[in-house]
Point group: C2
Chain length 248, copies 2
DNA sequence: TGCAAGAATACTGTATGCAGCATTTAGCGC
DNA sequence: GCGCTAAATGCTGCATACAGTATTCTTGCA
C-alpha cells in the first residue's frame, strides 16, 4: 500500500527509484502509428454532456433524466451518473437529493460575477505573461489573432468565437500557472453557455476586434498596464453584449 | 419536458406560475423540530474522502482502492466512485484510465501557483469588500478575528487554523460574488492539505497574527489599498512557511 | 541467482436489478 | 366542476454481478 506505483504504468513510462519519469510519450515519429487512444468513456460522456449544456440542447432548469440521456448516448446509467457528478463539481449542474441533476440557471448577477472573476484572472495572467512569455509564445498568440481576424473578415462567427476563446485561454496559459488556467477555464466554461447566445451587432463586433488588436499590441510590447486596461475594457464590453436577455 | 419543475419541490417551496418562490426555509421557530436533514450519501462520502485526503490519511500518490475504501466507509463502490469523480473535478485526485484514481501530488511550483491565484482573488475580493460590505458584515469578521486571537493566545493551533481559513473565506464572501467564492474555496481546498503541514515557529506565527490585525484594521477603515497590500504580504508569508518540505 | 513467460489474482469499468422516494393519475366525496 | 386522497407509474439511489484489463505470483530456464 505504500510501495504502489513503482512499476511501469504505460509502455512509455519508466520509474527509477521512486521518481516516475515520463518519456516524451509519442516518439514524435510522424509515420509511427498514432498514439493508442486510451478510450475513456468517462471523458467522452463528460464532454458530450458539457457540450449539450453549452449549446443549449439541455436548457437551464432542465432536469436530467438518466434513463433517457443514457439511452440517447448509448451508455448505461452508471458511467452517465459518474459524469453528471463530475459536471456538478464543475458547476454546470445542481444535484438535488432524490431528484437527480438539474442544469444550472444563471441570473444576470451571477453572470456579471463570473465576468468579473474572469477579468481579475486575465489581468493577473496578462501582467505575468508580459514578464515571462517568450517571443515565440507571443508569436503563437499573434497567429491565433491573425486567424481570428481572417474569420472576422470572412464573417465566420463560429470559428471567430472559438479562436477568441483560444486567445484568451492562451494568454492565461502564458502566465505558466496551472491553477490559474484551471480556475479560468472553469469559469469560462460556465460562461460559454451565455456567450453562445450573445451575438452582438456589427459595430460592437468591430469594437471587440479593435480591442483584440490592441491587446496583441500591448502583449507584444510587453506593456502590462496597457494590457490590463484593455483586458478590463474588453470584458466590460462582453458584459454589455450579453446583459440584456438574462433573467433578473 | 418543458413544463418540469413547476410543482412543489419541498414542503416550503411554492411555485406560482413559472417562478419558484422559496419561503424562508425553517419558520425560524426555535422549538420547531430541526429541518429535515435530506440524507445525501453522496455529500457524506465526498466530505469524508476530502477530509481523508486533506488530513493526510490518503497521502499524495496513493492509489485509491475502491473495494477497500468502500468497505472502510461501509458503502458500495457505486456511490463511492461517484464521489471520486466529484473530487477529480475538484482537482484533489487524478483519474487514470483503467487504473482508477490517484491522490494528486503537488510540487513546490504548483503550490506557489495556487498561492498566487489565492492572492489575486483575495485582493480583488478585499477591494470589493471595502466598497460594499456593511459594518455588520465587517463586525462579523472582526468577531472571528477576536476568537482567533484568543486561540492564538491559548496556543490552540487547530482552532486557530480553522478560524484563519474562515476569516479569509469570510473576506471573500464579503465581495458578494458567488463565482469568486467558488473558485477561491476550490483552490483553498487544494491548498489545505499543504497548509496542514506547515507549522511555523512562534516568531512567524506572531507575524501572521500581526498581519491579521492590520488586515482587520484596513477592512474596518475600508482602506482598499492597504488591505490589498497586507493580503499580498500575508500570502507571501504563507508561501515562506510551507515552501520548504515540498517536492521540487 | 536472475530473468522471462504465462497463469493466477486483484481491481476497475460497465451493466443490471431492486428498493424507496417523487410525481402523476385515477377515484371519490362534496 | 373542484379539491382531496390513494393507487400507479416513473425515476433516482444504491448494491451487486460480470467482463476486461492491470498487476502479481509462479514456474521454467539459463
Amino acid at each position: 500500500m505504500i510501495d504502489l506505483w513503482v512499476r511501469p504504468a504505460y509502455p512509455w513510462r519508466i520509474s527509477s527509484k521512486d521518481a516516475v519519469v515520463v518519456l516524451s510519450p509519442p516518439p514524435a515519429n510522424p509515420d509511427a502509428p498514432a498514439r493508442i487512444e486510451r478510450h475513456s468513456l468517462h471523458d467522452a460522456i463528460v464532454s458530450r454532456l458539457r457540450d449539450m449544456i453549452i449549446e443549449g440542447h439541455l436548457p437551464p432548469g432542465t432536469r436530467i433524466n438518466e434513463g433517457q440521456i443514457g439511452a440517447q448516448l448509448g451508455v448505461s446509467r452508471t458511467p452517465l451518473r459518474e459524469a453528471i457528478k463530475y459536471l456538478a463539481s464543475e458547476g454546470l449542474v445542481d444535484l438535488v437529493p432524490s431528484r437527480g441533476a438539474v442544469v444550472k440557471t444563471f441570473g444576470a448577477k451571477e453572470v456579471l460575477d463570473m465576468i468579473e472573476v474572469i477579468r481579475t484572472l486575465e489581468q493577473f495572467a496578462g501582467a505575468r505573461a508580459c514578464q515571462i512569455a517568450t517571443n515565440q509564445d507571443i508569436g503563437a498568440i499573434r497567429d491565433l489573432h491573425d486567424q481570428m481576424i481572417a474569420c472576422y473578415e470572412a464573417g465566420d462567427r463560429l470559428q471567430y468565437y472559438k479562436l477568441n476563446q483560444a486567445i484568451h485561454s492562451g494568454i492565461v496559459a502564458l502566465a505558466d500557472n496551472a491553477a490559474l488556467s484551471d480556475v479560468h477555464s472553469m469559469v469560462q466554461t460556465r460562461l460559454k453557455r451565455i456567450r453562445f447566445i450573445g451575438h452582438e451587432g456589427p459595430e460592437k463586433w468591430a469594437n471587440a476586434v479593435a480591442e483584440h488588436q490592441e491587446m496583441i499590441a500591448a502583449l507584444e510590447s510587453r506593456d502590462a498596464d496597457r494590457l490590463s486596461a484593455i483586458l478590463g475594457q474588453h470584458l466590460t464590453l462582453a458584459w454589455e453584449r450579453v446583459k440584456d436577455g438574462l433573467s433578473p
